[in-house]
């Protein structure tokens, strides 16, 4: 792992008595693409604004490159932000927008001109210097916002749902652009989104947040394959989350059927949440399945069919590339490795409980 760049220590923040963040701890490394992922109101944007300096925490410290920057205003922090709605200066040309930060730091005219050229090339908008902001599309404006931020050579780029306002195709293109940019620049990206697909595509590390608490920190693979609780499993991708009883190590009872699994250490006869990803369920003839039921709906999704099967009183979601007819009697199987066991929250509040990472 690379050197630690940013440390959030015991950060708490509340507005009007509403707790937004509670005792948040987060470490971000150099040259890391970190995504803060969660539903709206989970505190991800507040976390980003704290790092950017637009908010100050009620308690806790922000350490940047070894120095405490908690009280430092945004204009003295060595990082730059790409805002959700671009926040370009409409009364200036593209070149003037990009030059804004450089002029403030007193760079020479030649240096600035070179930087503008370089930045526009980097975001594939060469020759746009004299254009007005209004003449650009949303995607182009967002590229300019990125160019405006990176010319200042920040150690960290903060991105607040930068693709939220773009259409699907543009969003996908920009995802690859951002990955390329990050690799070329070799700086840390801290990215905020509620879009799990964006997070999985781009990140080195995903921080899943809910209601002011970090639920899980891990690589996209970790988060997807080994969600630590039902919230993460539900939020990342589609999931079948079923009540189960852990009979003993490597054996779980789901809907009165005992299944082999690979998880251990949950004790015996403990209620648990069982997560099975839709693509891990295999449709078989009825006699060969762990569960038997009827196909209730089949939707073509392009790459796969999304099939719902009502079996043993549960509506199962299955992704498969094979076509099956609605109304058909089928069985469902799953290999032990693809069964994910998670501790049940003791109350509904438990979903907020912080997971030590």
């Amino acid at each position: 792992m690379e050197k630690v760049l940013i440390e959030l220590e015991h950060i708490s923040k509340s507005y009007d008595g509403m707790v937004i963040l509670d005792d948040l701890e987060l470490t971000i490394h150099e040259n890391e693409f970190v995504t803060l992922l969660g539903p709206s109101g989970c505190g991800k944007t507040t976390t980003l604004r704290l790092i950017g300096g637009f908010e100050t925490p009620d308690t806790g410290k922000i350490i940047f490159d070894g120095a405490d920057i908690t009280a430092l205003p945004p204009n003295e922090r060595r990082l730059n932000t790409v805002f959700q709605k671009y926040a370009l200066f409409n009364h200036m040309s593209i070149a003037e927008n990009i030059a804004f930060g450089l002029k403030i730091s007193g760079k020479s005219r030649d240096y600035i001109n070179d930087k503008i050229k370089y930045a526009l090339k980097l975001v594939n908008l060469e020759g746009f210097e004299r254009r007005s902001v209004d003449s650009l599309s949303g995607g182009q404006q967002q590229r300019i916002a990125i160019a405006r931020a990176i010319v200042n050579e920040p150690k960290v780029l903060l991105l607040d749902e930068p693709l939220g306002a773009l259409d699907l195709k543009m969003r996908q293109d920009m995802q690859y652009e951002l990955i390329r940019l990050k690799n070329e620049l070799g700086i840390t990206f801290i990215y905020v989104t509620h879009d799990q697909e964006e997070a999985l595509t781009m990140s080195d590390t995903i921080v899943v947040m809910n209601q002011g608490y970090i639920q899980q920190i891990g690589t996209p693979e970790d988060i997807y394959n080994e969600p630590v609780n039902a919230f993460v499993a539900d939020f990342i991708g589609d999931s079948n989350i079923i009540d189960g009883i852990m009979v003993r190590d490597r054996l779980v009872r789901v809907l009165d059927t005992e299944l082999e699994c690979v998880d251990t250490g949950f004790g015996t006869s403990r209620p648990v949440d069982v997560v099975i990803r839709p693509e891990d369920l295999i449709i078989t003839p009825p006699s060969e399945g762990f569960f038997q039921g009827t196909i209730t709906s089949v939707i073509f999704k392009g790459v796969h069919y999304e099939i719902e099967v009502l079996a043993d009183g549960y509506e199962w979601l299955i992704h498969t590339t094979e076509y099956h007819e609605t109304g058909k009697q089928v069985g469902l199987r799953v290999i032990p490795f693809n069964i994910q066991i998670m501790n049940k929250p003791e109350s509904s509040d438990e979903r907020m409980v912080e997971i030590d990472a």
């Binding site: 932000t81 926040a87 804004f100 002029k103 403030i104 405006r148």
Partner: protein, 281 residues
């Protein structure tokens, strides 16, 4: 019947604009043409440019110059009062903003003549203000019937027209624009000069026009608070029409004033247009 419907469908929308057309012709275009007609004729009805030329008459020039001076003073004072107020307002919560803007606009609900008459009483030598000053053993003021009183009245009367456009343009600046400037390293004074000022300039310009033009052409305020001693171009035009019944001269001077106003507006519009397009680095 069918044909009538077809006609209605085809010309219905144009028919709706009919009343406006009548209004514009009857109450804007026709009076304007009459002004031009009177301006270029003498009392006998024959063509002359004397009415126009007479703007260069010493009395008229003096009045025009005084009008410009007072209108400029009034505009500058309004601007100096409004801009900081708009900035303060912008920092408050929305409900407070609305309340304070409401307070400033409230006097506009009253007839302006009444308000000016009230100031006449307040400012008079044995008026309420001097009574209060007496009570506090402070020296009296006697500004009624001076240009100062006229400027004062104009500022009082026209201030909302300056506040509203500036406040509007300032409220339209999104918070993330300011944050972006901060993020790029700008300190408060840089943000003000490079971001806030250029983005509020259109509001400032329309505020200037909305205050300067009525201040330049007003005659009621100078009548009531100037006591006939402060002779503005508006007062002279009024006197030409109402006292000397010299419609031709009055129309001639009105036309000159109108051209002057249009020209100054064009200059300002041009200026604000330029600064909006390109930055003021």
């Amino acid at each position: 019947m069918k044909g009538w419907w077809r006609l209605m469908r085809k010309y219905g929308k144009q028919l709706l604009s009919g009343p406006y057309l009548v209004w514009m012709i009857g109450f804007i275009l026709l009076p304007l043409l009459l002004v031009v007609y009177y301006a270029f004729t003498n009392s006998a009805g024959s063509f002359t440019t004397a009415n126009i030329i007479s703007i260069f008459h010493k009395v008229h020039m003096k009045a025009l110059w005084l009008s410009i001076k007072i209108a400029l003073q009034c505009t500058v004072i309004c601007l100096l009062l409004s801009y900081p107020l708009a900035m303060i307002l912008n920092k408050l919560s929305l409900s407070r903003q609305n309340f304070i803007v409401f307070l400033f606009v409230l006097p506009m609900w009253m007839n302006s003549m009444l308000r000016i008459l009230a100031w006449q009483l307040l400012l008079s030598n044995n008026g309420i203000i001097n009574a209060i000053l007496d009570f506090l053993h402070l020296p009296n003021i006697s500004i009624l019937n001076t240009p100062t009183a006229v400027v004062f009245g104009m500022v009082y009367d026209f201030l909302p027209y300056m506040i509203l456009p500036i406040y509007n343009s300032m409220a339209r600046i999104r918070k993330d624009i300011v944050e972006a400037a901060q993020d790029l390293g700008a300190k408060n004074h840089t943000i003000f000069i490079k971001i806030i000022l250029p983005l509020t300039l259109p509001g400032v310009m329309s505020g200037i026009i909305m205050v300067f033009v009525p201040a330049l052409t007003s005659f009621v305020i100078s009548n009531l608070l100037g006591g006939g001693k402060v002779l503005l171009i508006g007062n002279i035009i009024e006197a030409d029409f109402m006292q000397f019944f010299n419609w031709n001269l009055g129309a001639g001077l009105s036309l000159v004033l109108m051209v002057f106003v249009i020209a100054s507006m064009a200059v300002m519009n041009n200026y604000s247009g330029e600064t909006e397009g390109t930055a003021v680095w």
